[in-house]
């Protein structure tokens, strides 16, 4: 399968004179062509940092990125500003939560989209650009009139649609949406999410969706990566993980979300709070809050365990003592219950 983005030992550290904050740690993640990956985590889990670091939008003066992120035969971590400029919008684009605020209030929407089109195709004819923009506006369910309007004439939902249209203008290979629908109302959000899914059936785009809301991932993504305190807990197919979460953190997270249908179940939540990220921890980072924590969890970091298919989990409950041996989950779990 075609790999679009491959992160290897990806670390992001914020630093100032006195201390370091380890925001993202040892991420190994591959995104294949046509995937839609949802990255979920609570605030402080490093999900936005991860996105910004992939995009290389973090200020260099106080951040340190190590490892590699391979995208379009380039290592984005090492890429120069000039190389990045060539990739941005064209192959890698982004929609932020407040992307709509980036629109200039004194220019018409059409002019602003045109500007971005010309970044990569400076010699394009006007008609060509107009056709492209109008097709894009239709794609995100906006009328062509928007082309001649100013940002203040549009509502938040429409502006966010414009931002999505802009991000798609050069048919990027990878689209990152960082809480792109969080600020919107339920009804508007629901509609935009549906449009995104529909639109991808015709486009050739791979998407990373960063959100704190698992239900958004459930409706729009096929894969999910669960982040906690900057570390990956579990990665895999949405349909597997939401039905049968393996990692205790994912379990806790899912049991904290009330459901709209079916029986009312008591919400349990997870006790405790996020660890201090300016320190390095020896064991599993979730161990202090984990109800299944064992002796081992405080001592060593769990390594990656391959479950069925592409699903992976980082937890001692599932780690194999010998490679090639059958997973001895039941034994481990029984031990915990005892």
């Amino acid at each position: 399968m075609d790999r679009v983005l491959e992160l290897k030992d990806f670390n992001v550290t914020y630093k100032n004179k006195t201390k370091k904050v380890y925001a993202v740690k040892d991420i190994n993640l591959t995104i294949n062509k046509g995937d839609s990956l949802g990255i979920v985590g609570e605030s402080g889990s490093g999900k936005s940092t991860l996105a910004m670091a992939i995009l290389r939008l973090l200020p260099e003066r106080n951040t340190e990125i190590t490892g590699s992120s391979n995208f379009a035969n380039k290592d984005l971590v090492q890429a120069s500003e000039k190389e990045l400029k060539e990739i941005r919008w064209k192959e890698l684009s982004v929609v932020f939560q407040k992307s709509m605020n980036a629109l200039s209030p004194v220019h018409r929407i059409g002019e602003q989209i045109e500007d971005i089109y010309r970044v990569h195709k400076p010699n394009a004819r006007k008609e060509e650009i107009f056709d492209r923009i109008k097709a894009l506006l239709r794609l995100v369910n906006l009328s062509e009139r928007v082309f001649k309007m100013y940002p203040h004439e549009l509502s938040g939902g429409m502006l966010q649609r414009v931002a999505i249209a802009i991000s798609l203008i050069h048919d990027p290979k990878l689209l990152i949406m960082d809480e792109a629908t969080t600020a919107l109302d339920v009804v508007t959000q629901g509609q935009i999410l549906e449009e995104i899914v529909k639109m991808e059936q015709t486009l050739d785009v791979t998407r990373i969706m960063i959100t704190h809301d698992i239900s958004v991932v459930a409706t729009t993504c096929n894969k999910i990566a669960v982040l906690y305190a900057g570390e990956l807990m579990e990665v895999g197919y949405v349909k597997d993980i939401l039905k049968e979460p393996k990692h205790p953190y994912t379990k806790g997270l899912l049991s904290s979300i009330p459901s709209l249908s079916g029986e009312k179940e008591t919400l349990t939540g997870i006790k405790g709070h996020l660890p201090d990220l300016s320190q390095k921890y020896e064991g599993c980072i979730f161990a202090p809050r984990c109800e299944h924590a064992m002796e081992q969890c405080g001592k060593s970091k769990p390594s990656e365990t391959q479950l069925t298919g592409e699903n992976r989990v980082w937890c001692h409950l599932y780690s194999q003592s010998d490679r090639g041996e059958q997973l001895d989950i039941s034994k481990n779990l029984a031990e915990v219950n005892r």
């Binding site: 609570e42 605030s43 509502s155 938040g156 939902g157 429409m158 109302d185 339920v186 009804v187 508007t188 959000q189 629901g190 509609q191 999410l193 549906e194 704190h212 809301d213 698992i214 239900s215 958004v216 459930a218 409706t219 949405v238 349909k239 939401l242 039905k243 806790g252 997270l253 899912l254 049991s255 904290s256 979300i257 009330p258 459901s259 709209l260 249908s261 079916g262 009312k264 008591t266 919400l267 349990t268 939540g269 997870i270 006790k271 709070h273 996020l274």
Partner: protein
């Protein structure tokens, strides 16, 4: 079903804000434009009941909460708690009113004075209201209430400043503080929407347990529909300052009748993958609540709208016992 007397009776409460005249003709004619943030809302709550108020941003649900807590003086209407008019109560004895009605705000980081320790923050209201004979007695009461909410060791926490505590801990203290006087009526305005999902559950559970223990009536304001269903006995749906549907929470969630409620629920993303739902499309965005109408406020966006809907605001109909809907197409 036995007809019980409502404990809290919200009677035609309205909150209008004047808007600056925009055009010259308005200035000359002295026409006043009103933003009808809350418009003629009437609700009844039984003792110990939890009412969820849901709606999109800007629909006036927070303003309703503020008006109920008398942080703003409603333009018209009144709230009766156990047959006592709060309008009169607040004039005669404001402290007694504050002991009866309490509000929990959304942002725990803004709720507390940053310069005071938790001890000072909790002790001040007790002293003001003359509760407890001595300093020690008041302090013991603070410790007790903090420990009842699972904040241990309480004495350690009381020495701290708000910025030294996490959002979840602060919101717990905020809820516990509102419970200090055993209030009869609590307004919780999005109490957990600033918090992380994993800490939400505990705080919500704490709010429910405490209010059940004290038999307090709660208005729970939220935009999270699934959470509102989890916590409330009754749900009221607001749109542009008006309650458009009201009923038992299960009825509203499973069998919504108003087109807006149907759209709202069908557009809520769910984590249940097996659930197949048809999403209902709604055109446009909510209009401004400046002189809306005539006709149903939702009509311009409604998929069921007929000509009739644009003529006058629909009456409220009772479909089955306790399920009220304001829609002329039902």
């Amino acid at each position: 079903m036995e007809e019980k007397k409502p404990f809290v009776k919200i009677n035609n409460i309205s909150m209008w804000y004047p808007q600056k005249s925009k055009s010259l003709s308005q200035v000359i004619k002295r026409e006043k434009q009103w933003v009808k943030a809350v418009d003629n809302v009437s609700l009844e709550l039984q003792k110990g009941e939890i009412l969820g108020v849901i709606g999109e941003s800007g629909c006036g649900k927070s303003t309703l909460g503020r008006a109920l807590a008398r942080l703003e003086h409603p333009t018209q209407g009144d709230v009766f708690i156990d047959d006592v008019s709060t309008q009169n109560l607040i004039k005669q004895d404001q402290r007694k009113f504050r002991r009866t009605v309490q509000i929990v705000f959304q942002n725990p980081f803004d709720t507390f004075t940053p310069r005071d320790t938790i001890e000072k923050i909790l002790m001040r209201p007790l002293k003001l209201h003359g509760i407890g004979k001595s300093e020690e007695e008041r302090k013991q009461k603070c410790i007790d209430i903090l420990e009842s909410g699972g904040l241990k060791p309480a004495e350690e926490i009381m020495k701290r400043y708000p910025h030294e505590l996490s959002g979840g801990q602060l919101q717990r203290i905020s809820i516990l503080r509102s419970m200090l006087f055993n209030p009869q009526f609590i307004i919780a305005d999005e109490p957990v929407s600033m918090l992380d999902v994993s800490v939400r559950a505990e705080i919500i559970n704490m709010l429910v347990t405490l209010s059940r223990e004290k038999d307090a009536t709660v208005v729970f304001i939220s935009h999270d529909i699934a959470l509102t269903r989890y916590i409330s006995d009754k749900i009221a749906v607001m749109y542009l300052g008006k309650i458009i549907e009201y009923g038992d929470s299960e009825t509203i969630i499973n069998r919504p009748q108003h087109p807006y409620t149907q759209a709202l629920i069908s557009n809520t993303p769910s984590i249940d993958l097996d659930e197949i739902r048809e999403t209902i499309k709604v055109e446009g965005e909510p209009p401004t609540p400046v002189n809306p109408g005539p006709g149903c406020y939702f009509a311009p966006r409604c998929f069921k709208a007929t000509k009739n809907c644009f003529k006058h605001y629909p009456d409220t109909v009772e479909l089955e016992s306790g399920h009220l809907v304001s829609c002329s197409e039902i």
